[in-house]
Symmetry: C2
Subunit: 323 residues, 2 copies
């Protein structure tokens, strides 16, 4: 198809492809000044917005447009999962050059639409404009029962620290992608994790519904960067057992542990549980391993413990302002 | 002050300056994975997001950072005004180079905070990252009584077409700013309109509360681009009386009419009223003139009428994809 030649045509194309469905709760979607939504009675609204920028978060010549579409929504929805919420719909802010308003756009919208269906989070509106680079921002609106949202600030000394899944494989996938020529194909598990992350919605909702997690966040910038944020919000410290980290089996053990500590982009959940409730956690939740990696401490420092010694944990995760 | 050197410091600085107030309805603002909000019972939620990009929407060397902060929120809130809604809070997506994370950021946040206070729309969260150019995206969340939101799609043949304010002066201000050396100072009325637009919140809410407008939108891209959008949504046409346009007195009449027809960035309201209700509209609403500029017609074309003849209206407003 020919690229969309003006803003009206672009909006019409996006609306057609994403299938902005009006529903009982969503009265007006794309095409008016704003979206109009009737929230469920007695629910709180959860809101998050997330950048996904060419050059910073993806590379146009390496990342398939389909994966860009999937991932921009998946990582924004991961913030809703981290609160224990249910995503409802999203607003798409999209800036792109005219040359990409054809095939690239269609593939991007294809990945985005698939993610919307899988995650139960549908397009409700947005804003488009033209730029030399592709800029994406996604706002997700979700719901949660009052008082059930899990914040970062609830961890208490003595709580056990858990993570879902295996840590570090998405970053391993990114490194493989960087070495490949041309646009990547999701040819192995690590690359698939990098290109098509799966936010832990069901786990987050289960932990919230059962009041099991005292604090929670998603791991987007790496354990060594994100855990200090949870600890700061809760005004506590932590001790992490190096040997307990759920590291990748794709790498030698020492290297895998470094990836597990410092790599971003996993979108697994980091959460704390009162020790007396630990027996209520399964070893796997819908196939995803849940691993106890340490304990919350009173003193506001974070230590990494191996067989010999405990060392302060240095933050080595991703920070766009650290160059 | 020194520029913020990492993402945590940047988020802390934004939170400190904007004063993310927790309130009875906003449980968690910036600093967690998502914002948590309790909507008022029996209200609908209005949602919009809006780009504001260096190079497209503002020039770093011409626009004061304070005006960038004001305007990014004002123009997003204008979409809530255009639905007849009341803004509640906003999410700020901000990408900027490290070199601007000091003085520029503080001035930007100063303008944003003033707009937040004047518009009654407070910061609830957001996302920050680093980029060579300043990228801003604002999501605004508002509320409206069920059934009272004014859509673009409700105009009927015979309805009278109104606009608020004077059209074209913001664009005149932009042209003056482009000619000036260095960062502009809001030294005259046109420049002030360009730098510090005032969304018509009170008017939009009054029209909604009194069920006076059958259709409404805000004028962001110019009358000749935006009126066809309203007409398309309502499946109607329109006849505009050239001599009735509320054009600027700062320009010769013919030139002022061209500006009134084709200039963007005014953020005035365009709305339609059933002719039998026209007597209920004041000539001015809180000092802002309301002007009848024409009539909705059955046939889906838009004509511009002057003393001699009626001509089809060509779209000459701003479209980022038209180059």
């Amino acid at each position: 198809m020919k690229p969309a030649q003006n803003e009206n045509a672009l909006v019409a194309r996006i609306a057609r492809q994403l299938g902005f469905a009006r529903s009982k709760t969503l009265a007006v979607g794309l095409g008016d000044d704003a979206a109009l939504w009737t929230p469920a009675r007695g629910r709180q609204t959860v809101l998050t917005c997330d950048w996904f920028l060419e050059g910073s978060h993806f590379l146009r010549d390496k990342h398939p447009a389909d994966a860009v579409g999937w991932k921009c929504l998946a990582r924004a929805v991961s913030d809703i999962a981290a609160m224990g919420g249910e995503p409802r719909f999203f607003l798409l802010g999209l800036a792109l050059p005219s040359s990409l308003a054809g095939k690239w756009l269609d593939e991007f919208l294809g990945g985005l639409k698939r993610a919307a269906k899988v995650l139960g989070c549908f397009a409700a509106g947005g804003d488009t404009t033209r730029q030399a680079n592709v800029l994406i921002t996604i706002t997700v609106i979700g719901e949660v029962r009052p008082g059930r949202a899990i914040l970062r600030s609830g961890a208490k000394p003595g709580d056990l620290i858990y993570v879902s899944g295996i840590l570090g494989e998405a970053d391993l996938g990114l490194r493989q992608l960087r070495k490949q020529r041309g646009v990547a194909r999701p040819s192995n598990a690590a690359l698939r994790k990098h290109l098509y992350p799966e936010p832990r919605l069901a786990l987050g909702q289960w932990l919230a519904a059962n009041r099991l997690a005292t604090a929670m966040m998603d791991l987007s910038d790496g354990l060594s960067t994100d855990l200090p944020r949870l600890c700061a919000a809760s005004r506590v410290g932590a001790r992490i057992e190096m040997d307990s980290l759920p590291a990748s089996s794709f790498l030698p053990a020492a290297e895998a542990r470094e990836f597990a500590l410092h790599s971003g982009d996993d979108y697994e959940l980091l959460f704390t549980v009162n020790a007396k409730n630990a027996h209520r956690l399964p070893q796997r939740f819908r196939g995803v391993p849940l691993t106890c990696i340490g304990e919350i401490t009173k003193h506001r420092r974070i230590f990494l413990q191996d067989k010999q010694k405990a060392e302060p944990l240095r933050s080595g995760g991703w920070d766009p302002f650290r160059s």
